[in-house]
């Protein structure tokens, strides 16, 4: 079966200017009370540029970037996050991404791997490899019918 998504397809860039509200609300709403996400003085004392975006919020920004493009039928299955540099208030970040691989399964669902980046200026600050299942009924799969493949088992 041929996948509906094409390897090499580029997602349109998306621009976000991060504010203190993004950072603090992201941490509080994900029940993350660590001070580097809400206390500027603590963050500066730890040699950080200021309060920093926490991991769950950063991850959901990536998921949001993909599902806003692919639609809610895209069900995240697996991700690998690599953070290279912290994101703080005042940072202007551009999201970019492309389809690394796409494979249809026997049930007609596509397993799509996205390679995503957040870029500040010309420097990548974060990378996410995200696998989604896309297609009618994917959100209703469970148990033995929901078996996300490992990243390296899908052809690049």
């Amino acid at each position: 079966m041929k996948p509906r998504f094409q390897q090499g397809t580029r997602l349109p860039p998306h621009f976000v200017h991060f504010t203190a509200r993004h950072i603090i609300l992201g941490a509080m709403a994900s029940r993350d009370w660590q001070p580097q996400h809400h206390d500027h003085e603590h963050a500066r004392a730890a040699n950080l540029p200021g309060i920093i975006l926490n991991t769950p919020a950063q991850t959901q920004w990536f998921l949001n970037y993909v599902t806003a493009w692919a639609g809610p039928q895209a069900r995240p299955a697996r991700w690998r996050l690599g953070m290279k540099s912290p994101i703080s208030p005042g940072d202007a970040v551009t999201f970019s991404g492309m389809i690394e691989s796409a494979q249809a399964d026997a049930a007609g669902h596509d397993w799509v791997v996205f390679s995503l980046e957040m870029i500040r200026g010309s420097r990548p600050v974060s990378h996410c490899r995200l696998m989604c299942a896309v297609g009618e009924g994917v959100w209703r799969l469970s148990g033995a019918d929901w078996q996300p493949p490992l990243f390296d088992t899908l052809p690049a």
């Binding site: 991850t59 599902t67 806003a68 697996r78």
Partner: protein
């Protein structure tokens, strides 16, 4: 090469810490997180699309680890427990007070839904021999957290975290 402490040897391959959620998942919390990350996905709201596509609203996937995190304050003055308790116990047992995350991978299973309470089972997968990098001498370790729905033990997701612990106090 320094041997692992006996208690750490005994932890390898086992769930050492189980944390139970202090908070039940709920749609208001989903909405607040969506506001934080400007996510308009209708599946995270009590919307027609959520019922049609997913059988009802679901939790934003990146909140997998949120529900088992302890509250920052307890009304009876009890000490607050630590998120990812196994990581802190390991740092103490190995005498490595500092640590950085080196990698993270998450695999999702059943979606979290309103009313769910979450159990986090923290398992120690591996500890490396003593290694050295630009941060100094230390060890790498891997912890997997298996998130399960409290009411029926259904697997919600697995988070695998790699760390490098360092900064041994030689004094």
């Amino acid at each position: 090469m320094a041997a692992l402490p006996q208690e750490v040897e005994a932890w390898l391959g086992h769930v050492v810490v189980t944390q139970t959620s202090g908070a039940a998942a709920e749609v208001g919390a989903f909405r607040l997180f969506c506001a934080a990350v400007e996510d308009a996905n209708p599946l995270y709201r009590d919307s027609k699309e959520a019922h049609d596509v997913a059988g009802g609203p679901i939790c934003p996937p990146a909140l997998l680890s949120a529900w088992s995190r302890p509250d920052p304050w307890e009304p009876d003055g009890r000490p607050v427990s630590r998120a990812l308790e196994l990581h802190f116990r390991l740092k103490e047992a190995l005498g490595l007070p500092k640590a950085v995350v080196t990698r993270s991978e998450t695999e999702l299973h059943a979606p979290i839904r309103p009313g769910d309470r979450v159990i986090a089972q923290q398992r120690l997968d591996a500890v490396s021999p003593v290694a050295e990098n630009r941060l100094g001498q230390g060890r790498y370790w891997t912890i997997s957290v298996l998130y399960r729905r409290a009411c029926d033990d259904v697997l919600l997701g697995i988070e695998t975290l790699g760390f490098f612990g360092y900064g041994r106090d030689e004094g």
